[in-house]
C-alpha cells in the first residue's frame, strides 16, 4: 500500500492525485465502518489529537471530533474564545504548550491564511488544516469531490460550477484545486464583486449568469454568502442576490437535465438555495456531511500511520 506524500494536510495544493485516490480508497473502508452497529475501530488508541479552533465552527469541529473518536484517538479541544490567546499569547507558544503535553497531531482552524503552513514549519507534530481564512479548507474539498465520485461514479470529465461568494471562500479555492487534480472542468459563477481578481490564473471558466452556468454543469456547489468576512457591501441587498444567484425549483425544472446540488453548509435557506431545493432528491448535502466523517477518518489515519 502506498502512503501519503506529505506529513501534514495543509491544503489540496500540496498533495497530488495519488494522495487523493489513497484518501478516497481509505475513506471507502471507513464509510463501511461508520455504518456498522458499533462504529469504532481501535487503530489510533495511542495517538492524541488536539483540535485547535481559533475561529468558530460547528460542523467541521464536530466532524473532526467524531472522526478522531471513531478511530479511538484521545482528543483535546481548544477554542480561542476561552483561552490564553485572549491574554496575548502567540500561536507558536499556544501550540508548543499543547504539544508539551505530548500531543501527536494538531487539527487547526485559524482566521489567517497560511497559519497551518506557518505552524508546520515551527512545530514537530502532524498538522491538519481545518480552514485558514479565505485560503484553503482541504478536507471540505476532499469530501465534496468524494461525494461527486460517489454520486456520479467519478470526477474526471465532470463539469462543476461553484456558485456564490468565491472571493471569501476557502471551500472554493480548495475545491478548484481538488476538482482540477481529478480531471474535472470547473466554472465559478457569481456577481463580479465576489469573483477574485486572480481567478484567471486558476484556469477556471467564469460566468455571471446563473441559468447559463447551471445549464453547462453536472454539479452545482452552492456557497454561503460570508457576511462575517465582508467589510464593505459587495451587492445591493440579500434579496437581489438571491433573485440573481439563488437556486430555486423552477430554475432547475427549466434545465434540460438533472444536476446534482451541493452545499458545504451552513445553508442560508432562501438565499443561495430554497428550502425546496435543499430538501430535494437532487441535493446531496446530508451525504456530504456523512462522507465528511469518513474522509476525515481517512486523512487522520493515513497521517497518523506516518508518525513513528
Amino acid at each position: 500500500m502506498s502512503e501519503l506524500s506529505v506529513n501534514h494536510l495543509l491544503g489540496i495544493k500540496y498533495i497530488n492525485q495519488k494522495d487523493i485516490e489513497l484518501i478516497f480508497e481509505t475513506a471507502d473502508h471507513f464509510k463501511e465502518v461508520i455504518n456498522r452497529p458499533i462504529k469504532k475501530v481501535p487503530s489510533l488508541r495511542d495517538i492524541t489529537i488536539a483540535n485547535l479552533f481559533f475561529e468558530n465552527s460547528t460542523r467541521t469541529r464536530l466532524s473532526f471530533e467524531l472522526a478522531e473518536k471513531r478511530l479511538s484517538a484521545d482528543v483535546v479541544n481548544f477554542s480561542a474564545a476561552s483561552s490564553s490567546v485572549k491574554k496575548g499569547e502567540t500561536l507558536i507558544d499556544t501550540v508548543n504548550n499543547i504539544l508539551a503535553m505530548k500531543v501527536d497531531m494538531v487539527v487547526m482552524r485559524h482566521p489567517n491564511p497560511g497559519a497551518g503552513v506557518f505552524l508546520s514549519k515551527h512545530v514537530g507534530s502532524s498538522i491538519v488544516n481545518a480552514g485558514d481564512g479565505a485560503h484553503e479548507h482541504p478536507t471540505q474539498a476532499l469530501l465534496d469531490t468524494y461525494s461527486i465520485r460517489e454520486t456520479l461514479g467519478g470526477v474526471a470529465g465532470k463539469k462543476v460550477v461553484i456558485v456564490g461568494d468565491v472571493l471569501h471562500s476557502r471551500v472554493a479555492l480548495s475545491n478548484i484545486y481538488a476538482l482540477q487534480k481529478q480531471g474535472a472542468e470547473v466554472m465559478v459563477c457569481g456577481p463580479k464583486t465576489l469573483i477574485p481578481k486572480y481567478i484567471n490564473e486558476l484556469g477556471v471558466k467564469v460566468e455571471t449568469n446563473l441559468t447559463k452556468a447551471l445549464q453547462w454543469c453536472d454539479v452545482a456547489n452552492m456557497l454561503r454568502v460570508q457576511n462575517e468576512r465582508m467589510d464593505i457591501s459587495y451587492f445591493p441587498s440579500t434579496r437581489e442576490y438571491s433573485q440573481q444567484y439563488g437556486v430555486t425549483k423552477s430554475i432547475l425544472e427549466k434545465l434540460d437535465k438533472e444536476i446534482v446540488i451541493m452545499h458545504p453548509g451552513p445553508i442560508n435557506r432562501g438565499v443561495e438555495i430554497t428550502t425546496e431545493v435543499a430538501d430535494s432528491e437532487q441535493a446531496i448535502i446530508l451525504n456530504q456531511v456523512e462522507n465528511g466523517v469518513a474522509i476525515r477518518m481517512a486523512v487522520i489515519y493515513l497521517l497518523a500511520s506516518k508518525i513513528k
Binding site: 473502508h29 475501530v41 481501535p42
Partner: protein
C-alpha cells in the same frame, strides 16, 4: 530461496471436503451459523468451502461474509509499510449466531485476536469457531487454537507457508518457503 510442496491440489481438495463434512457434523443445516472469511487470504478458502457445501452437500441459504481486520490489528505504526485495508462484506445479522472464522494459515494468532474484536462491531455472536487450512504449530504468540484444521505444519520462524490458489494455468498448492 528454496520451496517445498506441503500440499498438492489433490490433497487440498480432499482436505476441504473433510473440513466441509466436519462443519456439517457440527452445524447440520447451518440455520444458525454464519461463515466469515478473513481478508485478505481466508476468503479463498471460504469461497471453496461454500462451493463444496452448496454443490456437493446441498446446504441451502448458507451465509458467507468477508471480514477485514486491518483497523483492529495491534501493529499499526510498527511496521515499515502502512497497513492495507480490504473490503468487509457482512450483510446479515451476527447477533446470537454461531460464527465460523475461516483463514488460510494460522500462525501467531494475532490476526484471529483482531478478528475476535472486529466481529463484535457487528453484534454479539453466540459462539465463535476457527477453521484454518494450515496450522503452524509452535509459533503462537497468543493462546488461540483452531476448531477445525486442514493440516498441521511444523515450520520455523524464518520459513514462510504460502497457499497458492490456482487459476486456469496453475493448480492449488501449499508451499513451505525458506
Amino acid at each position: 530461496m528454496s520451496q517445498k510442496v506441503l500440499l498438492t491440489g489433490k490433497e487440498i481438495d480432499i482436505i476441504l471436503h473433510r473440513l466441509a463434512c466436519q462443519l456439517i457434523e457440527n452445524h447440520t443445516d447451518f440455520k444458525n451459523t454464519v461463515l466469515i472469511g478473513l481478508q485478505p487470504r481466508g476468503i479463498f478458502v471460504a469461497d471453496r468451502l461454500k462451493e463444496i457445501l452448496i454443490k456437493e452437500y446441498g446446504i441451502n441459504n448458507l451465509k458467507l461474509g468477508y471480514l477485514d481486520i486491518t483497523f483492529f490489528r495491534d501493529d499499526f505504526r510498527r511496521g515499515n509499510l502502512p497497513l492495507e485495508a480490504n473490503k468487509t462484506i457482512i450483510d446479515f445479522v451476527v447477533e446470537d449466531k454461531q460464527v465460523v472464522f475461516i483463514d488460510d494459515v494460522l500462525y501467531t494468532g494475532r490476526s484471529i485476536r483482531a478478528a475476535l474484536t472486529a466481529i463484535q462491531s457487528f453484534g454479539r455472536p453466540l459462539g465463535v469457531e476457527l477453521l484454518t487450512l494450515i496450522d503452524r504449530r509452535f509459533s503462537r504468540h497468543l493462546p488461540i487454537q483452531p476448531s477445525y484444521r486442514g493440516r498441521q505444519v511444523d515450520a520455523i520462524n524464518n520459513e514462510r507457508v504460502q497457499v497458492n490458489w490456482g487459476n486456469n494455468t496453475a493448480e492449488d498448492a501449499v508451499y513451505l518457503i525458506n
